[in-house]
Point group: C3
Chain length 313, copies 3
Amino acid sequence: MAGPFTLGEIVSRLGGRVVGDAGLLIRQVGSLEHAGPGQISFLSNSKHGAELAATRAAAVILAPENEKLTALPRILAEAPYAYFAKVSQLFNPAVAQASGVHPSAVVANSAKLGKNVSIGAGCVIGDGVTIGDDSCLYPRVVIYPNCSIGKRAILHAGVVIGADGFGIAPEKGRWVKIPQIGGVRIGDDVEIGANTTIDRGALDDTVIEEGVKLDNQIQVGHNVRIGAHTAIAACTGIAGSADIGRHCTIGGAAMIHGHIKIADHVQVSAGTLITRSLLTPGTYTGIYPFDEHEAWKRGAARLRRLAKGKKDG
Amino acid sequence: MAGPFTLGEIVSRLGGRVVGDAGLLIRQVGSLEHAGPGQISFLSNSKHGAELAATRAAAVILAPENEKLTALPRILAEAPYAYFAKVSQLFNPAVAQASGVHPSAVVANSAKLGKNVSIGAGCVIGDGVTIGDDSCLYPRVVIYPNCSIGKRAILHAGVVIGADGFGIAPEKGRWVKIPQIGGVRIGDDVEIGANTTIDRGALDDTVIEEGVKLDNQIQVGHNVRIGAHTAIAACTGIAGSADIGRHCTIGGAAMIHGHIKIADHVQVSAGTLITRSLLTPGTYTGIYPFDEHEAWKRGAARLRRLAKGKKDG
Amino acid sequence: MAGPFTLGEIVSRLGGRVVGDAGLLIRQVGSLEHAGPGQISFLSNSKHGAELAATRAAAVILAPENEKLTALPRILAEAPYAYFAKVSQLFNPAVAQASGVHPSAVVANSAKLGKNVSIGAGCVIGDGVTIGDDSCLYPRVVIYPNCSIGKRAILHAGVVIGADGFGIAPEKGRWVKIPQIGGVRIGDDVEIGANTTIDRGALDDTVIEEGVKLDNQIQVGHNVRIGAHTAIAACTGIAGSADIGRHCTIGGAAMIHGHIKIADHVQVSAGTLITRSLLTPGTYTGIYPFDEHEAWKRGAARLRRLAKGKKDG
């Protein structure tokens, strides 16, 4: 933890404008619900007015148009949630591991590590791997040979980069393995969640562009491309050779078929299975609504009859 | 393996009542289908009467009301399946690892381990972690700093506790990371399956209460609470800040949206996506029924027309 | 990398027939789209005629009936994709790790390793495990005690074999653990993708037969049987005691209920939840079609009314 900082010191570092006591000393961030004395919180949406009214936070970050919603000392900023994120970074700079290679990690001699890289306990870094400056690999990350990771990457525990893609060809009832000779190329400022897997390419590389954020337990198949600044929530699967645009957001447990193209600025809802290319920006959803079990059973039976073209009896 | 025990010795330890030869010697448990001489099986449901009639087990555990369904030596118990579980524990006490810290594990000096804890090969235990008495971590579990695990925990291989939650804020087309400064608190008697991940909280803690049972490859987002004695099957994803009650059961591959509340004693069916709070106990389901592929294709096309308000042609 | 080989040398090793210059020297394989001088590609489907026309590959593998589709030097083979796989193996023989046990791996004294086995960094091999000849375990694979792996297995990083199945019995609002005393038996020529988990059996064994191919992040519950030469794509979950036939293909993110039987030669589409036994070969699908979000919302509301038996208004 760093700090404390006054509201005035915060805006001198991060911009924005103080309304109220600029000398107020802040020690930590907190949620509207749980923040207490010495803590600063934020309001990202005026719907949370009731929580704002009840908060015991010492100060609040909010948008200029919401200035009048509170009498607390406050910082006005255009993107209060992003501003809050930066304030939290200010107070909590040292969440990452110490830099250097943990003695229990296994790093190939031919791997090239940038400056100020942190390799956690039990990591395994293969031949010919490159890792950019200021990257942090938490414990037990595995990177297969000949993959590259950009600068300022954060790879969480259990991540596997560069395992073979699922390439098999049928012959007389058996499967013949197709060597996976491509690699994985990951850009700068990428974060990858715990136990996520990104397969190496069959012939060409699998590519994750700069600024991509992947949550936990995501599977990225061989030869996928994920465009810059796309964010994907947990448990999503992306089949081989899918080409996903820039600035997309994909909800949790979504599934993307292989060999399809998704345009920039597409949003896919959680739990949605995308089976064909999406060439127009927008939000796409395909969730079968749940119901109380007996009602679902009757409804599903009726829909099955309707789907078969029978009249509803 | 321990034993053998006579039926009489079993009921003197675990309760229940013997019908038939109390001196019959039992050496192991088995399924109705595969048990042989010296083995005891169980009948949990009178629907399995045919298997009971055909079994070659030496003895059977069943409910008092089913006493007459077999002439075999038997133990009558109110909850035959739970009773069988305890009998199996009697015969198979030593499935867990030896206690102590494996020399290849990496345990921070500031971590506090209780009595009789077992830390498997390749585990990584961060600063300030506490682990309660009699807990067993199988190989390659990672616990990030400042998380706590209760007593008698069982954490299977590949579990990751306390990785950063997926907290990012948009700003001008890029993502700003929100430091995840909460921890994970796990109660007593919790079991967590292989490769399951539980993220640390953004500001407050992620909480898993006592007696929770999690299967493999489950993802628990930041600031989730899972109430006591809830059981969740494999491949389920729980998004951030979901608040799940006590004594719930959640089927495999279910998905729970973030920021919703699920009451105590709710049952969610496998493969169901829960998109809003469930404040009433009961069973909830939302599965799109499968069909033979061509029939599904015709049916899906017809349902799409109906969903658009067109008459069925 | 091995080679180069002439087209003539390739067919003398792998069969097929050369049309054109049999002395043409090939150095590597490539896709129709990206292959260049010295590279051989393949045409598996005459639909890709346009890519074939545009390719800069030096030679192509294709089916005898497609011989006239190109004027390039070519190899005619009955199964061009499988033939291509073998050609790629010829040029890329050494993708696997070196044989031997990495010094950081932890192998129980009672484990039995076959000839030419490769055990990667950080693997943990339990008591009584057997691993067949020529098998390769990439880094950080965990095999619990008393499981067996066949010959020529490929297990990718993060795989966990033999963790406890999810066996719990309810008693007075709490869960009693059922010891999982079966093992896992895996046949010859099985490949298992990164972070996939296969649980040990409750009483009897979990069985993966020869030639099965499993992609990443698959969960296989206790007492499942997967028949020979079945291939399963990523993120699929298979619940306990499911019995899956031989020569099946199961798409990504499918979910198979427990205690059901799937015949040989069944194909399950990606994202489909199979809730009952499939005793007839064929393809089965159950995907709820996605739509643009607002259209989906209206359609889902209308379907809910129809499912409740209300007239469409």
